[in-house]
Amino acid sequence: MKTNSKNSTLMAWLLVLPALIIFLLMILYPFVNSIFISFTNKNLIFPKNDFIGFENYVKLLKDPNTIPLIWTTFKFVFFSTLCPFTLGLIWAILMNEKFKGSQFMRGLTLVNWIIPGIAIGFLWNWIFNGDYGILNALFNKLGIIDSNVIWLAGKQTSLIAVVTARTWQMFPWYMAFIMGALQGVPKELCEASRIDGANNIKVFHHVIIPSIKPVLMLILILGAISNLQHFDLINVMTNGGPERATSTFAIEVYKKAFKEYNLGRAAALGVIWAILLGGFSWVYLRNLKEEN
């Protein structure tokens, strides 16, 4: 009996071991190493690596761009999560209805999500291009504008452009999750509500939403985490500009490390970023625990 229990424990450890090794090597070690680097003046070009205490953090706090960076990241995360979520919810409800071609439409919708971010960036860059973009051509034809708008040159319009592209990319992901949840809502419950006199809005509000709420919460948190880490679309479309209007943590850390070669400062910014991510992850895990 005792030998069996020992064997089971050993077996459990061995099964966990591959994942544990990968976690230690690929996640924990780089993370701990980044924390160490954030206290040094390590540079990508020059082989220096001196301990400088909190200097990187102090410089970041004194940098007038740090607060705007947090604010821009917040705006990007907020809108890039909420917009595709809302669109995904509406689309999922529509796609959940049985109509001719609904299966095909579901598959077609997922195409956006499959296309690589870089390609989507180039595609939307072309759409929003002020001189030969299709959006200006369309708005011109419809009489909405009478001269070209340079979308990617304005602080607000460039953020709108990036959020639009991200929304287009991600709403199928939200749709897929929500559809899965919708299909789990008991039909009898909806029918019973209707017999009791509830209209569609009431059924949606009082029956469907409470039933799929755990899934909605989880995808909102996961979506926010993913947007907090998002890099490729912004990098291709605006590279964080103009005037840093679309510069998020991911863009700034990349620039600090690989364009300015300042690994110490990039690591310090990365640590602050990780703390913010940690907040979202904590909410996610708490949610998961509550659900269980």
Partner: protein, 427 residues
């Protein structure tokens, strides 16, 4: 028994995967390694393959060249990173603006110890030699060197009634005004086909800041003064920024303009002026408008007052030897092959890269070429971006962000100038 077998299998799997990398035989690369970016670009891929093959034909196995490619934007960091590791590389193609960083990082070999004493003075013009020199040491062999010029669409100028030479800033402004207000595409209501007078770079630090420096120099300003202090708040610098803003206010330039956008628009006949390097020919050739001499003409940038020397942004590619290469003599032979008459003329013919060796430059093929001939007046005025060096990207970002703020009106010229100085000094 079954459980023990499963456990044993898992142990084997885990440890074999962990140590697989360690047991892998490290293959030593024979021959020489040439790092470049042009060899992976569609336009020059075949050319680079031919350059290497034609050299390798007559070489023993341990001297054969293999190439590794990175994108242009990654070259500087990759070369520096490799210097800290043990990976093999011997020769590299670098952009002239990468030279200060790589030289300071100790990556590059001093070529005066590899080439003969008079090799550079015998073969290259002083202007070309100087672009490969950093703090008195010759690190680079000039491969193709030609400062950036102002490329003009002569057809647009004609259609707008611009029939005078553009020499000074006021000539330039007058021409921009005529294009904006007289060109047929700008006077009708079809907004989609407007002609932009000047596609000045306004999008990213890598193009906007070095291009803007040309205007700073034209107005007698500079990014740094003689003592190395940032002087972007000087009277002349403020004058240059104000002038640049006035171009935007009058609709002569526009935001979010990158080099690729300006080339596309020029090719479509929708831009009258823009700054570019000699290699732009391939990107702006459009048979719809006839031969390139019918519509495109490179010229020097306008000056503040008649008689001033036109300013231009330095541009070019260098060939360098890596300091820790054990094959410096063979690397030298490969570089000599690349700049030899046959190879350089073929490179010029196929890609349009101007040779740098005096003997090749004077050949009929180069002398009779419209595009490179038009470049001759520009060749003398090139100056490397003042921000070139390890902080290139950081400095350029600060400049472009503040310029964008001025153009959008979110900062006054004085505030932007003060911010640039403060941020550059506190970097």
């Amino acid at each position: 028994m079954k459980k023990t077998l499963v456990i044993l299998s898992i142990v084997t799997l885990v440890f074999s995967s962990v140590f697989a990398q360690g047991n892998q035989e490290v293959k030593t690369q024979e021959g020489m390694t040439w790092s470049n970016w042009s060899g992976s670009e569609e336009a020059s891929k075949e050319m680079f393959k031919w350059m290497i093959d034609s050299f390798n034909e007559n070489q023993p196995t341990d001297n054969k060249v293999v190439q590794i490619n990175w994108p242009w934007g990654e070259t500087e960091s990759q070369l520096a990173l490799r210097a800290q590791g043990s990976e093999k590389y011997d020769i590299a193609q670098i952009d002239i603006r990468m030279l200060p960083t790589l030289a300071e990082a100790g990556v590059l070999a001093d070529l005066s110890k590899i080439f003969d004493n008079n090799y550079f003075t015998d073969n290259f013009a002083p202007g070309s030699i100087s672009v490969g020199n950093f703090n008195g040491t010759q690190y680079g062999v000039p491969w193709t060197v030609a400062p950036m010029g102002m490329i003009t669409n002569t057809q647009i100028l004609k259609d707008s009634g611009v029939d005078f030479d553009i020499v000074t800033i006021s000539d330039f402004e007058k021409a921009l005004d005529m294009i904006k207000n007289n060109h047929p595409a700008n006077t009708d209501n079809n907004a989609g086909n407007d002609v932009l007078p000047f596609a000045a770079m306004t999008k990213d630090g890598g193009t906007c800041a070095p291009d803007f420096m040309v205007w700073l120099w034209t107005f007698g300003a500079s990014v740094f003064d003689a003592n190395g202090n940032c002087s972007l708040d000087s009277r002349e610098a403020i004058q240059a920024i104000e002038w640049f803003k006035s171009l935007s206010d009058k609709g002569y330039i526009q935001g979010a303009m990158g080099r690729g956008d300006s080339r596309t628009l020029f090719k479509e006949g929708r831009v009258a002026f823009y700054n570019d390097a000699l290699l732009a020919k391939g990107s702006i050739t459009n048979e719809k408008f006839g031969s390139i001499e019918d519509y495109a003409k490179p010229q020097v940038n306008p000056v503040l007052a008649k008689g001033d020397t036109p300013k231009a942004s330095g541009w070019g590619h260098l060939l360098v030897i890596i300091d820790r290469s054990p094959k410096k003599a063979d690397a030298k032979a490969f570089i000599e092959h690349l700049i030899s008459k046959d190879v350089a003329l073929k490179y010029f013919d196929k890609i349009g890269m101007l040779p740098s060796k005096k003997s090749v430059l004077s050949s009929d093929q180069v002398a009779n070429d419209y595009w490179s001939n038009s470049w001759t007046p520009i060749l003398d005025g090139g100056r490397l971006a003042e921000t070139a060096g390890p902080n290139y990207s950081a400095y350029n970002s600060i400049i472009v962000e503040n310029l964008q703020a001025v153009l959008s009106g979110s900062k006054t010229v004085d505030n932007a100038a003060a911010d640039m100085v403060s941020r550059i000094e506190n970097l």
